[in-house]
């Protein structure tokens, strides 16, 4: 089995449907195509270069950010604005087609995830996979997330940061 494209925690595998493996290039295309993207950023990358890169990505495309866990603090200390939600809260809002979205201009059509706890993120992605057909999900963590629509592969830190850099510049 290709260790890069099975779920990072292998038993997260949920059935025949698997995420599409994406490169920074494909990810970029997905973001460009989206009308109302959102970036959900979790506490796993508090105070790390990955966090900085992720916020750069958000800035580049003007993507509003939701922070989960206690990522809000780390982000705001870095001068980055986000809205704090629990991971399950934001997923719950995203699955409602009528939610007005973070900016109030309508539900999002693409959600990027980075830095959320792997297995909990996987569960949240599962919710969206099943109950939010109106949303595409893209994970730019260093872990392959089979429950997303599209995901980076499993990578080591170095390779991952290069992926993020590509996407950020």
């Amino acid at each position: 089995m290709d260790e890069r494209v099975i779920p990072w925690q292998p038993t997260v595998i949920a059935g025949p449907k698997q995420a599409l493996l994406v490169t920074p290039e494909t990810a970029e295309m997905m973001i460009q195509k989206a009308k109302r993207p959102l970036l959900v950023i979790g506490p796993l990358i508090n105070d790390s270069p990955a966090q900085t890169l992720s916020t750069k990505i958000a800035e580049k495309w003007d993507i509003p950010m939701v922070s989960t866990g206690d990522a809000f603090k780390s982000l705001s200390e870095a001068g980055v604005q986000s809205r704090a939600y629990g991971l399950v809260e934001i997923v719950n809002l995203l699955k409602d087609p009528d939610w007005e979205g973070l900016k109030g201009d309508g539900q999002h059509d693409l959600v990027l995830f980075v830095g959320v706890l792997y297995y909990m993120g996987s569960q949240g992605l599962s919710t969206l996979k099943h109950f939010a057909p109106h949303i595409k999900t893209l994970t730019i963590c260093r872990f392959f997330h089979s429950n997303a629509d599209a995901s980076f592969p499993n990578m080591n830190e170095g390779e991952w940061l290069k992926y993020l850099e590509k996407l950020a510049k």
Partner: protein, 731 residues
């Protein structure tokens, strides 16, 4: 308005398929229905109901077992008498069944009812039965209620028959792997049923062997044995199981039921420890020698003629376990059980650095790094994994390791060598809250002066170590909350010391009062937590008990600022417990692994129509507040959880003074963990008087930004008696 309309089930499927019947497996992605017509939402709800049924059955089977045994021993006339300070002995049974049990025999009515209900509930999980998630959920809530009832019956029976503490302050008992005297013969009890442990204690007292043999326990059995006799030692929560067994300290391992590693026999045999199974719930494939002569059983065990035995007679277990421990202890002490540090270093060199140990670890712990360190004789990473049960020794990494490194044994050895002073304490479980305490705290709680009751319960599937629970407890104790605890949670709290070396049990009293840290006991004792809330409704608010479920639960939801926390919930029991607690209107916060239960109950603070209540005093439906905002919530880490919990203690009936206190805590903790005033604070400000003085300026600024307007303070908010009254069936 119903609970499930306000707190809609939120599903996170753990598997895309259903494998329940032979038409399957069916793929339920993309809105597809299975061959029986079910969809993914109902399938998740069914799985939740099934888990709640299993969990509830575990508690109720336990209660039935215990009750029959105790009736056998003490007669069914033994009165349910909890002493002077408790008149309301069985609040759950009284509310749910409308019956007031006077003696052990009366408790059977509760079990008979519950068993009948359980069969109906389980039956609904069958293919081609229930098919709407809402119907499954209403049944899951009922299964949770049955769980609460079963636990109440079990704990009441053991309290009165075994003379456990009856709500009075209980002594501190020793806790920790270091508290066990390794030089003595040692009997270890694992599980939840106190009977075999009590049998051991009785035998030792009879034979005056108390000083010659050490009795210790893991999980709730340990807690309950200390309620029976405070000399017993508590090793710790479930997370200690594999490392304690691997350490080889225990000579005889007595298992009863629930939360026992299913490979306990194999693991114990590695160290030549003797294993005694004691109930029909965990037979370990062992020969049933219940009716054999103790001499013969002892001989067979001592001579290794059998792998272990099953003895379904607690008194006989007491005799056999003690005698075997005395006989084999000396020889066993000389067996080498763990590799030494040099051996660990050598072994570590075999590591291929494949990294799979990390990938299969539930918490992605870096075992590889620990092994890499050990290669260079640097054991600090191992030590970090060991401390606070950051690694809870589930053993998955070891199972996966491609070069078969005995990772848990290595971890255990490092811990044994480097981590000293594993001696802590825990207050023995005191059982129910006294009526007199309820009288004292009823008003301040309902008015909000005591900002809340927070209950840390459940298991040790923690995301980042056991001390998270203790740190949360500490935070709330410092802030005047009443902190209640039970089960593994109670033990985890006891394993934490402040800078001065004191445990929280040493620093805080056991009173059910502000700044009190109350250990009610084992998992079955959890029943006293909703029990206390019920008693508040009854004693303080004069709500009648008998058969008055709906009104009581409505009262609790709207007025009693209680919140359960099951930070390491892993089991079906925990699912049932949480769902049962929810049924009473009490919100529960679980850790991140809790999302794997597949269902939460989340509120939508952004939808005002969801929060309307019927003000029974005003006689009309009015705007309410998102309080409590969620009914079952999973947090990603301790920081998030702490803030969520404090918010979940807000209730629409808080007085302005009470609300100030609660908002003050909410803002304080939000500032601490998120750096700012919470943006949604305006939702909980009804009039300017609600605003805590310290934060007045900042809060007013927010109110201005959102164009806040004052709201009426509700007098008697209720979800009952809305006009739209036709609701779905189910239980």
């Amino acid at each position: 308005m119903k609970l499930l309309e306000r707190y809609e089930p939120f599903y996170a499927p753990f598997c895309d398929m259903c494998c329940l019947c032979t038409y399957g497996k069916c793929d339920l992605t993309e809105g597809k229905k299975g061959a029986c017509g079910i969809d993914i939402e109902a399938q998740q709800a069914r799985t939740v109901l099934l888990a709640c049924c299993i969990g509830s059955a575990a508690h109720s089977g336990h209660a039935r077992h215990l009750l029959e045994y105790l009736i056998d021993k003490h007669g069914k006339e033994l009165p349910i008498d909890l002493g002077m300070n408790i008149d309301i002995e069985a609040p759950i049974m009284r509310v749910v069944l409308g019956k007031h049990p006077k003696n052990l025999g009366d408790l059977k009515d509760g079990l008979n009812y519950l068993e009948e209900q359980m069969v109906h509930l389980l039956s609904a999980c069958h293919t081609g039965q229930e098919g709407k998630s809402v119907d499954f959920e209403s049944k899951a809530l009922h299964a949770g209620l049955m769980d609460n009832l079963g636990k109440e019956i079990g704990d009441l029976a053991q309290i009165v028959a075994l003379n456990m503490p009856k709500g009075e302050d209980a002594p501190l008992v020793e806790l920790g792997m270091g508290s066990v005297k390794k030089e003595k013969p040692i009997v270890l009890c694992i599980g939840h049923n106190v009977a075999p442990g009590a049998g051991i204690i009785d035998y030792m007292e009879d034979q005056e062997l108390e000083d010659d043999v050490e009795v210790c326990g893991i999980c709730c059995a340990a807690l309950d044995i200390t309620r029976y006799n405070s000399r017993a030692k508590v090793v710790g929560p479930m997370s200690k199981q594999l490392k304690f067994i691997r350490s080889g300290v225990a000579d005889v391992v007595v298992v009863d039921e629930q939360c026992v590693r299913t490979d306990i026999l194999e693991e114990a045999r590695k160290n030549k420890a003797c294993v005694i199974a004691t109930t029909d719930k965990i037979c370990l494939g062992l020969p049933d020698m219940t009716h054999a002569d103790p001499d013969i059983i002892v001989r067979k065990l001592v001579n290794d003629e059998v792998e272990g035995v099953l003895i379904q007679d607690p008194d006989k277990v007491g005799e056999v376990a003690t005698r075997v421990a005395l006989k084999i202890s000396k020889e066993r002490k000389s067996i080498k059980k763990l590799p030494n540090l040099e051996e660990i270093q050598e072994m570590s060199k075999e590591c291929t650095q494949c990294g799979w140990c990390i990938r299969v670890c539930p918490n992605s712990l870096n075992m590889k790094e620990a092994v890499e360190g050990a290669m260079e004789s640097n054991f600090t990473k191992f030590q970090e994994l060991y401390e606070n049960d950051v690694c809870y020794t589930c053993g998955r990494c070891e199972q996966e390791c491609e070069v078969d490194l005995p990772l848990i044994s290595m971890l255990t050895k490092v811990g044994e060598h480097y981590v000293k002073n594993e001696k802590y304490n825990v207050r023995a479980g005191r059982g129910p809250v006294q009526d007199v305490e309820i009288r004292r705290v009823g008003a301040p709680l309902v008015l909000g002066d005591i900002p809340g009751v927070i209950a840390f319960v459940g298991c040790s599937n923690y995301p980042e170590g056991a001390d998270d629970v203790a740190k949360m407890a500490e935070e709330f104790l410092e802030r005047n909350y009443i902190v209640v605890t039970s089960g593994c949670g109670a033990m985890s709290i006891g394993e934490y010391r402040d800078e001065e070396g004191k445990t929280l049990y040493e620093r805080y009293s056991g009173d059910f009062d502000a700044k009190g840290l109350v250990n009610v006991g084992s998992c079955v004792s959890n029943a006293h937590i909703p029990g206390a809330c019920i008693k508040i409704a009854n004693i303080f608010a004069k709500k009648p008990l008998e058969g008055n479920f709906q009104e009581i639960a409505d009262y609790i939801l709207n007025r009693v600022g209680a919140c359960g926390v099951a930070w390491g919930a892993f089991s079906q029991k925990a699912a049932a417990i949480a769902t049962g607690i929810n049924r009473w209107g009490i919100p529960v916060v679980v850790g991140p692994h809790g999302t794997k239960y597949r269902r939460l109950f989340l509120g939508r603070a952004d939808k005002t129509e969801k929060w309307r209540v019927n003000d029974l005093r005003a006689g009309k439906v009015m705007e309410g507040e998102p309080a409590p905002e969620h009914l079952l919530y999973a947090a990603e880490n301790r920081e998030e959880a702490t803030v969520a919990i404090v918010k979940l203690c807000i209730r629409p009936t808080d007085t302005t003074k009470g609300r100030q206190i609660k908002l003050n805590n909410y803002i304080d903790l939000h500032k601490k963990y998120f750096g700012t005033i919470p943006h949604d604070v305006y939702k909980f400000v009804r009039t300017e008087k609600d605003i805590p003085i310290t934060y007045k300026k900042e809060v007013l600024k927010i109110l201005e930004d959102v164009e806040w307007e004052p709201k009426a303070i509700l007098q008697e908010p209720s979800l009952m008696d809305f006009k739209e009254e036709i609701v779905s069936g189910g239980k």
